[in-house]
Every structure is written in structure tokens, then in C-alpha cells.
């Protein structure tokens, strides 16, 4: 497939999925301004690397994967900034929106979290997730089961705490 065609497809996917991209980013950085930066950077990267898309069917999942990678990179950078300016502990709470249940995802590692988000929240096909993550299908499945198991533990503990 030639570049203009694939670029056009990527563009269409970006325009119909930017809200999902934003939500995905938001679950990682948890504030509006960073989440917007991530979506913007991801959109740029997606067009820029459009030529690397092999299979047009999984463009959407591929874009989500870029968002997740960009979000993770940004978090690493943030950790760095915060440790450099420890004294200035301010601001974050104002923008922070409370999504308790989404917080449960924190128990997952990067890959597990990505699989859960893509599979359950964005309804991506497992095969597409596997392609986008460059894993084989069975690996993705086992990550998924492992994550669900971990999540159940987390949620149950949460409920117990709540009752007492």
C-alpha cells in the first residue's frame, strides 16, 4: 500500500479516535494538560510513521499503542522532574479528577495495563493487540488472564476495606 493511502487511513483513524486516545492517555497521566500533549504528540508520530503500518486493519490498535508508549515515556520524564523539584509539591490535586475504579489499574504492570485497556475499554481484538505489541496471541492471552486475576484481588480488597 502506498504512503498517501496509508497516511490517509491513519488520519481518518486519528480523527475518529482522538477521544479514545485522550482517555487512554488520561488513565496514565491523570491530568488534562499532559493527556492533551500526549494525544498531540501521538497523532504526530502516527502520521510520521504511517509508512510502517503493514496491516491497515489494526491501525486503530497501533495508534493506541503509540499513545500508551508516549504516555509511559512522559511519566518517566515526570518522575524525573518531580525528583528534581521535590520541594515544589503543588498543583497536581487541583486538576486531578477522581476515578477510583480506574485507580485499580495501578496494580498492573505496563504490559498488563495496556492489554486490559485495549481489550476491555477500547474493545480491540486480541489479535490486533498482539500485532500492535509485537507479541504472539498466546502471550497476550496469558497477560490478559494474569491481569484479570490481579485485578480481582485488588478489587476484592478494596471492597473489604470499604465494608469495614
Amino acid at each position: 500500500m502506498n504512503l498517501p493511502t496509508i497516511q490517509k487511513l491513519v488520519e481518518q483513524e486519528l480523527l475518529s479516535n482522538y477521544a479514545s486516545m485522550y482517555r487512554l492517555a488520561y488513565t496514565y497521566v491523570k491530568n488534562e494538560s499532559d493527556a492533551m500533549d500526549i494525544v498531540q504528540e501521538s497523532a504526530y508520530l502516527a502520521i510520521k510513521h504511517a509508512s510502517k503500518v503493514r496491516n491497515p486493519d489494526y491501525i486503530r490498535t497501533w495508534i493506541f499503542r503509540i499513545v500508551i508508549n508516549t504516555a509511559l515515556s512522559s511519566l518517566r520524564q515526570k518522575t524525573h522532574e518531580i525528583s528534581a523539584e521535590k520541594i515544589v509539591e503543588q498543583g497536581q490535586n487541583d486538576q486531578y479528577t477522581d476515578f477510583d475504579i480506574i485507580e485499580a489499574l495501578n496494580i498492573l504492570n505496563d504490559k498488563e495495563r495496556a492489554v486490559i485497556l485495549l481489550r476491555y475499554f477500547e474493545d480491540c481484538r486480541l489479535q490486533d493487540i498482539a500485532d500492535a505489541m509485537k507479541e504472539n496471541l498466546n502471550t497476550v492471552k496469558s497477560i490478559l488472564y494474569r491481569s484479570l486475576k490481579k485485578l480481582r484481588v485488588e478489587l476484592t480488597e478494596g471492597e473489604i476495606c470499604h465494608e469495614t
Binding site: R23, Y26, E41, K48, A104, Y120, L151
Partner: protein, 313 residues
């Protein structure tokens, strides 16, 4: 379990979407598309062996405050071969002199859009003060193509937005190196739209010969300088990532097709004041955006067997 996930998904879908998100996504898309075109168009037919696809000129969006510089290098040198380089070593006479003789300026201002672009002209002379027409023309051609392309990009932005856009573009230049061997003219471009972006471009003139070169011309024929330099850079990347976990390079990453493999022939470079070779990568070339432009100093020891005499210390 099912219930919990449904609830989570509900919360997830209730994350509010900011209004300006769509506009910003559209901006990103149009900028990336433009960059893809630029990458193919810039310097299509110069006399140098610059490959079209490797000419990378990116405008990247970055968070406010993390604006970074990118350097694009064009080397201007002579038909230098090993023997000539040697001869020059033995007779320390400066063959040519390059000077910036004049500049034109492109200025535009309309509402919130403005541009200030300085376009220098360079003159290359031999030691008797005679102007070397070919070298001078090569250099100025390259400069003209580069600046025209920046102006065209800006003008198309003005046209696209009907002058109602928000853009601030400046292009300035300075002389980054002027030693016995090299004269290097650096352009610095800064575009402020959604985020600030800086890009650079450097032209080098070999004073001992007076013509244009690429990185290849610094090295002896048939040497694998690209591999030697790339391997050293990979080692440095690994080392940096071990020492500082906030540093990220695309090396053995989980997106293998973006991983850094090898420098291109026309990779950005310059020689710093200590005579060390500096390799410069644009944003996103070898690392995530937040790393900005990254520069690697290549130890001369690593290159001593393959580099021509006189360039590096």
C-alpha cells in the same frame, strides 16, 4: 468480576474530553504531513550525495518548556582525499576563506502570524582573495533552497488559515565553527505554534580545499565509519540508560522498528571546539519526544584509524 470491569469501563468513558482536543489533533496531523513532504523535497538535486529520504526536518510538538533544538547538517568541503589532507597538514597555510558577505531578510506580520527570516550569502575565496565561483555557488544554492522551503511552508500556513492563525517563525544564523580546517554556518529555526520547536542546519566549508562534503568526507575511503560511530553511540545510549533511568533511547525497545540501527550518511554533525566529532539527532529520531535533540560526542580514539588527518583532535 464482570460487573467491576463494566463499572470501570463506565468511569473510563466518562472521562471528559477537552474541547480544543480536536483542533490540536488536526494541527498535529497537518504538521506531520507537511514534514513528511519536506523530508522528500528538501535538497532534491544538490551536488552532494544526500539521500532524499534521509533528509530529516521535523517540526515536533512538545510540551511547553521542553522545546528542543534539532540540527541538520550540510557539509561543504573540497574534493579532499587522503593525500591532499596530508599535504595540508605539512603546509599549514589556509587555502580558502569563507565569509558571510550579505544577508537578505524576509519579514511578514499579519495579526498573530509573523515571520523573520534572515538569509545570508556566503563567499568562498582562495588565499589570494579570488572568489571561488563553484564553491560559492554550491553553498548559496543550498542556503537558498533551504530558506525558500521554510518561507514556502510559512506562506502556505498563512494561506491555509487566511492569516488568522497563530505562528511565530524566526530563522537566524551564526558561525558555529571557524578554525584552521572548517568554517561552519549554522541556521537556527524556531517555530512557535502549539508548542515551540527549534531546528538547526549547519553548512561546513573546508578551508583547506573550499568545497562541500558530507560526514563521509571526514573519513578515509572504504572505511565503515557509519558502523564504528553507530556502535559507539549504542554503547553510550546503554550506558546512559543504566546510569539514569529517566533517559530513554529507542534501543532494544518494545517497538523494534523504531529502534536505532545505524547513522545515515547525512546524519547531523559538527566538530566542537575541542575538535571532537558531535553527532546530533533530531527529536524522535532515536528517542521519545521528551528527550529532545540528543547529541553524542564520539571519542576521537574510536575513530583514529579511519578518520582523515586534520579534522579531529
Amino acid at each position: 468480576m464482570k460487573h467491576d470491569l463494566t463499572e470501570m469501563k463506565h468511569d473510563y468513558q466518562n472521562i471528559p474530553i477537552p474541547q480544543e482536543l480536536k483542533t490540536r489533533v488536526e494541527q498535529s496531523i497537518s504538521k506531520a504531513k507537511k514534514d513528511n513532504e519536506c523530508a522528500a523535497e528538501i535538497f532534491p538535486k544538490t551536488r552532494q550525495k544526500l539521500s532524499k529520504t534521509d533528509q530529516i526536518r521535523r517540526f515536533a510538538f512538545c510540551g511547553i518548556g521542553s522545546a528542543a533544538a534539532a540540527i541538520l547538517t550540510i557539509a561543504v568541503l573540497a574534493n579532499s582525499n587522503a593525500n591532499i589532507a596530508h599535504a595540508m597538514e605539512e603546509i599549514p597555510v589556509l587555502g580558502t576563506i569563507a565569509k558571510v558577505v550579505t544577508f537578505r531578510e524576509y519579514q511578514h506580520k499579519e495579526n498573530q502570524m509573523q515571520a523573520d527570516i534572515k538569509i545570508p550569502e556566503v563567499q568562498v575565496e582562495n588565499k589570494e582573495g579570488k572568489v571561488l565561483a563553484d564553491a560559492t555557488e554550491d553553498m548559496n544554492d543550498a542556503i537558498q533552497k533551504y530558506t525558500e522551503q521554510i518561507i514556502a511552508a510559512y506562506e502556505s500556513d498563512v494561506k491555509a488559515t487566511g492569516g488568522e492563525g497563530l505562528e511565530d517563525l524566526t530563522l537566524d544564523y551564526d558561525i558555529v565553527t571557524d578554525n584552521d580546517k572548517l568554517f561552519s554556518l549554522r541556521f537556527q529555526q524556531c517555530i512557535t505554534m502549539a508548542g515551540a520547536v527549534q531546528t538547526q542546519k549547519i553548512y561546513h566549508i573546508d578551508k583547506s580545499t573550499g568545497k562541500m562534503i558530507t560526514l563521509r568526507d571526514l573519513f578515509l575511503d572504504k572505511t565503515d565509519y557509519q558502523i564504528v560511530i553507530s556502535e559507539n553511540i549504542k554503547t553510550q545510549m546503554k550506558q546512559q540508560m543504566i546510569e539514569d533511568e529517566t533517559k530513554v533511547y529507542w534501543l532494544d525497545s518494545d517497538v523494534p522498528e523504531w529502534d536505532f540501527q545505524q547513522i545515515s550518511e547525512d546524519v547531523n554533525f559538527y566538530i566542537n571546539e575541542s575538535g571532537k566529532l558531535m553527532i546530533v539527532f533530531d527529536e524522535y529520531q532515536v528517542a521519545p519526544g521528551f528527550m529532545g535533540v540528543v547529541t553524542f560526542e564520539i571519542p576521537t580514539d574510536v575513530l583514529k584509524d579511519i578518520v582523515k588527518d586534520g579534522y579531529l583532535k
